[in-house]
Amino acid sequence: MKPAPSIIFFTVASGAGYGLLFWLGVLKPLGLLPASSLFGATAAIIALALITAGLCSSLLHLGRPERAWRALSQWRTSWLSREGVAAVITFLPATVFMIALAHDEERFILPAGLLAAVGAAITVYCTGMIYASLKPVKEWHHPMVAPGYLLFASFSGASLLAMLAIFWGGGFFPALVAAALGLAALMFKRAYWASVDATPAGSTRETATGLGFIGKVRPLESPHTEANYLLREMVFRVGRVHAAKLRSIALLLGFALPALLFCLAIILGGGAAMALGLLAAVSALAGLLLERWLIFAEATHTVGLYYPTQR
C-alpha cells in the first residue's frame, strides 16, 4: 500500500495526542503528576494541538475535503465514520478538561479527565479497526493491529507526558510508565512481525483467477502498458527492499532507545533528565513515523495478485 504522508502524520500525531490526553486524564486525578496548573494546561494544549493537527492532515488525503462532514453519518457500518464521530465527541470533555486544568477546578478535573481518556481510547481503537477490518490486506487484517494502535498511541503519549513532567520536576511515575510501555511495544511489534511473516497469504493468483484447477498461474500480459491508480495506490513495493533494516531501526529508535533514556532520566534526575526526556520523546515519535511508514509500505493488497511481479 502506498504510504501517504498525510495519513502517516495523522495517525502518529493524533495517536500521540490521544495517548497524552489518556494518561493526563487518568494520572492527573490520581495525583501522580506535577500539581502545577501550568503543567496540566500545557500538556492538555499540546495533546489537543497534536490531535487537531493530525485530523487536519487526514483531510489532505481526501479527494473532496470540503465534504468531510459527510463522513460522520455512517457510524453504523463504517469504522472510519466511527473514528470521526468519536474524535468530534472527545473534543467536548477534552476541552472542559483543559479549561479545568488551567483554572485548577478540582470538581471538573476528575470527570472530564476520565471521559476524555475514554474518548481518546475509543477514537484510537476505531483508527486501528479501519485497518484491521480490511480483509484484502493480510498484514492489516490481523488480531494484533487494533491493539497495536492502542499500545503505540499510549506509549507515545506517555513519552510526551513523561518529558513534560520531567520539565516540571515530577517525572518519576510517567517516565516509569513510558519506559514500561516502550518495552511492551518493542515485544509486541516483534511478535506481530513474527506472526505476519509466518502467516501464508490466504489468496493466491490461483484463487484470484480461479484457474488453479489447470495448474500454476503466471501473468502473461498486463491489461495496460502504463501505471494506473490501482498500481500506484495498492501495489507499492519500495518498502520490502530494505524491510529488515528499517524494522530494526524502527524498533531501536521508536521503542528501545526511549525506554532506555527514560530509565536513565529516572536515575540521573536534574538537568540531565530534562535533556534525556526530550531526546526520548523525539526518538519515540521519529521511530513511530518509521513504524507507520512500514505499516503501509509492507502491506500487500490482493489486487496485486492480478498484476505481474508481485510475489
Binding site: 488525503h61 483467477t209 495496460h224 502504463e226 491508480y229
Partner: protein, 247 residues
C-alpha cells in the same frame, strides 16, 4: 445508507457471466465500456496525459492474460476483470458517507459521486481492484453494470444489456439475473461449472466465470490436409469430379 439491504426472497441479483473459454482478449469490452460510461451514469472517466508518455485513466474493465498450467495441459487464458457486484460488498460498508450503496431491487453496487469525499477506503476494501479514483473530480468511480442501458427504454429492448456484453465479438460475456435459478445465465453457470473469484474473502461475488474447457483429445491428431476450394479448380471436369467425390 451503507448498511446492506436485506434481500427479499427471490430478489434480482443482476450480474455478468464471463466465459474464459471463448474470450479472445480483444479488449473490445473494456473499450466499449469506457466509450459508454465516459458519458454515462458515472461520467466522466478521465484520462491523465492522454496524448503523451505515461498516459493513464479510469477504466471499469481491465483485460488481463495469464498462462495456467504446464505442458499439454497448459494454456493461455484471457481474463477480463471488473466489479463483481458482491452480495456482501465491504466497499459499501466501509464507506463513511453513504456515497457507496448496494441497490435492494437488483443488487447493483453504485457510488453517488455527489456525496463521495474521495477517502478511497472503498478501493482498499475491494479485493478485486474494481474501483478507481477519478483524480480530476476527487471522487471514486466504478462499474455501474450499465444501469443507464439495462433499464433504458429509449434503446431497443434486445440492446438493453451492459456495453461490454453488447460489444463482445466472441459472445464471451453474458448478462442476467443470477438470483433466478431458471434464468439463462444461471443455467449456463450450472452447466459449465461457473465459479466465483477469491471465495475465501467471503464477499460473495454475484458475477461468475466459466472455466476454460478441457482440451479435447481430437486436437492431438493433426488436422487433415485441406484441398483446394472449388473456385480454385479451373478445369470444369476436375471441378465436377471434386464436387461429386466430396459428397
Amino acid at each position: 445508507m451503507t448498511s446492506l439491504p436485506t434481500p427479499a426472497p427471490g430478489a434480482k441479483k443482476l450480474g455478468l457471466v464471463i466465459d474464459l473459454d471463448t474470450c479472445v482478449g480483444c479488449h473490445a469490452c473494456a473499450t466499449n465500456c469506457k466509450e459508454w460510461n465516459t458519458s454515462g451514469h458515472m461520467a466522466p472517466l478521465p484520462d491523465q496525459h492522454p496524448y503523451s508518455a505515461a498516459q493513464e485513466g479510469v477504466w471499469f474493465n481491465r483485460v488481463h492474460a495469464y498462462e495456467a498450467g504446464d505442458g499439454d495441459e497448459g494454456r493461455t487464458v484471457h481474463f477480463p476483470r471488473s466489479c463483481l457486484h458482491c452480495e456482501t460488498p465491504a466497499c459499501v460498508t466501509v464507506c463513511p458517507t453513504g456515497a457507496s450503496y448496494k441497490r435492494a431491487e437488483d443488487g447493483i453496487v453504485l457510488v453517488n459521486t455527489d456525496m463521495c469525499i474521495g477517502c478511497q477506503l472503498c478501493a482498499w476494501a475491494c479485493p478485486y481492484g474494481a474501483r478507481e479514483l477519478d483524480e480530476d473530480q476527487g471522487v471514486m468511480k466504478k462499474c455501474t453494470l450499465c444501469v443507464d442501458r439495462i433499464y433504458n427504454e429509449t434503446i431497443p429492448e434486445d440492446r438493453r444489456v451492459p456495453a461490454c456484453v453488447s460489444t463482445c465479438p466472441a459472445n464471451a460475456r453474458h448478462f442476467g439475473d443470477l438470483g433466478d435459478p431458471n434464468s439463462d445465465v444461471s443455467k449456463l453457470v450450472a452447466e459449465r461449472g461457473g465459479y466465483e473469484l477469491m471465495p475465501e474473502m467471503g464477499y460473495q461475488p454475484v458475477n461468475r466465470y466459466l472455466p476454460p474447457r478441457k482440451a479435447s483429445s481430437q486436437v492431438k491428431t493433426p488436422p487433415k490436409e485441406a484441398g483446394p476450394l472449388p473456385s480454385q479448380i479451373t478445369n470444369p471436369l476436375l471441378r465436377w469430379m471434386d464436387k461429386v467425390l466430396s459428397r
